[in-house]
């Protein structure tokens, strides 16, 4: 019998992630090549894999790392700095008390390196001679534009997702990303800093069914040395894009017991349930 006391204290968004994970894991076990059983959306035509090694366009889904069940988990024995370890410990202590330390991801912000490595949602990729665009819609939305260029712009505005440029090394796409705003997440506990520098080498298999992605992360604020993470993304035969509107229902229950170590994460709009027959309503305080 499952011992529920072994579960970590998961607040509503954490439970949504758990549910996704369980569905994903169940589907992963039952998956039979060419797609994942978790596909909730109806299929759409026109998705034939291409054998052009430099054509990454289409629809992909990240497979978990070996030894894990969830693609977006970037954990294990990583060389964290003391600051990163102490933040992670704090998050776990809070969870053990039945509360949750708010993270940017849990509070509907774009994800930083996490979703560039192993997103739990499928990734639509559009490509032309100027850029490759990685799009996540069934999770917190990311439009990750990777420009074919030799240099980052001088006037870079820091952002959650950073700024990406790429060049070809043979048929391997080498992507360089900097310009993070210090609010992107590595995983559910660790937020990476503005110094994060992510390099990715992406190679497509000859049959067009797999992208091998080798990601190197350098961030002296969280890692004592560079870290390399490997993932495979598998081809998916077209699905209707769905929507995940994270901000849609800022329900009071979502935030009860949540700890906001960073004030910018505390919500100013909350949905309250009405009394009696009165329906729920959103109330925003003046910031």
């Amino acid at each position: 019998m499952t011992d529920s006391r072994t579960m970590m204290g998961l607040r509503p968004w954490g439970r949504a992630v758990l549910a996704t994970a369980l569905l994903f894991a169940a589907a992963e076990v039952g998956a039979q090549g060419g797609g994942f059983g978790m596909s909730a959306a109806p299929p759409i035509p026109g998705y034939e894999p291409s054998t052009d090694p430099r054509d990454f366009s289409g629809l992909w889904r990240s497979r978990p790392a070996p030894g894990s069940f969830l693609p977006f988990i970037i954990a294990g024995e990583l060389p964290f700095t003391e600051a990163a370890k102490s933040r992670a410990e704090y998050a776990r202590r809070m969870a053990a008390q039945g509360t949750q330390l708010a993270t940017p991801h849990v509070m509907c912000r774009p994800t930083g390196v996490n979703q560039a490595i192993g997103p739990i949602a499928p990734v639509y990729v559009l490509q032309n001679s100027e850029k490759i665009v990685f799009i996540v819609m069934d999770e917190i939305r990311d439009i990750r534009q990777v420009y074919f260029a030799d240099e980052h712009p001088a006037d870079l505005e820091p952002s959650y997702g950073g700024h990406s440029i790429a060049r070809w090394d043979g048929n391997t796409l080498v992507v360089d990303t900097i310009g993070y705003n210090g609010r992107g997440v590595l995983n559910n506990e660790v937020v990476h800093s503005t110094a994060m520098h992510m390099t990715q080498r992406i190679t497509k298999s000859a049959d067009g069914l797999t992208l091998q992605i080798e990601t190197t992360l350098e961030d002296p604020a969280i890692f004592t040395e560079p870290v390399t993470v490997k993932r495979e993304w598998s081809w998916v035969n077209g699905q209707q894009p769905l929507e995940f509107d994270c901000e849609e229902n800022p329900r009071e229950d979502n935030f009860s017991g949540m700890i906001f170590a960073e004030e910018y994460l505390r919500p100013i709009c909350i949905q309250y349930e009405g009394e009696g027959e009165e329906l729920s309503r959103v109330v925003c305080e003046k910031p």
Partner: protein, 230 residues
């Protein structure tokens, strides 16, 4: 003299003919960042009239305007950064980028990072369930224009800032046309028998934003700083 005039007239005629044929713009010419040329807080028909609302919808529209005037914006889900959907994202004062790809056409809206993928396979897709952006299928026409049909638009959004309501039955048909290399025209047709007494159309003009790139927009960060949500 007469020869030269005739030559000039002949050249002029050729230019006019080329422009109306619409052949001079390849599909990739739609690529780029676009911004609405004129602020459009309220949709009007081609004749400049308020759209033909059925009585109940008209009452709701008027209530929305009263509420906004009194400072109560909670009928507008943009207030808390929830998705504002279509057509609002196409007429908001925020740029969007079009990217023509082989399987679909991407509309990347700067506002809160919304993405619309228009399926170009020629299959009429059925909406899985109503969403803010709906489900869109598109096709290129012989004259170089692009026609997109969108349905499955959830009724919880409003069509414009003024609060024009719609139902889940709304079908939006857009015809995109390049007037010149830097000017995009979208003619929109709205068919919603639960809201309007008849289908109606409007036309919106966008200007190309040369050299621009979309910013990463995070609405929740903006409202936290006291900036308007949209």
């Amino acid at each position: 003299m007469r020869f030269r005039l005739s030559l000039l007239q002949g050249l002029a005629l050729t230019c006019v003919v080329s422009a109306t044929q619409g052949e001079e713009f390849p599909r990739e010419a739609f690529n780029g960042v676009w911004l609405i040329a004129e602020e459009t807080p309220a949709l009007r028909t081609l004749d400049g009239e308020i759209p033909p609302l059925l009585p109940e919808a008209k009452a709701l529209y008027e209530e929305h305007q009263r509420r906004r005037a009194s400072g109560d914006t909670y009928f507008d889900r943009a207030t808390w950064c929830a998705g504002v959907g279509l057509p609002r994202l196409l007429i908001a004062n925020h740029p969007f980028e079009i990217m023509v790809d082989k399987r679909q056409i991407g509309f990347f809206f700067e506002w809160n990072r919304w993405v619309r993928l228009v399926d170009m396979s020629g299959t009429k897709l059925e909406p899985y369930y109503p969403t803010s952006l709906g489900t869109a299928s598109g096709a290129w026409q012989d004259d170089g224009s692009l026609v997109i049909e969108t349905s499955g638009l959830m009724r919880e959004t409003i069509m414009d800032h003024a609060g024009l309501p719609h139902s889940d039955e709304l079908v939006m048909t857009e015809t995109l046309r390049l007037i010149d290399a830097d000017t995009l025209e979208i003619q929109m047709r709205f068919d919603d028998p639960l809201t309007f007494s008849a289908p109606w159309e409007t036309k919106v003009i966008y200007k190309r934003q040369h050299g621009a790139r979309l910013e990463e927009d995070v609405c929740l960060d903006r409202i936290k700083q006291g900036l308007p949500p949209i």
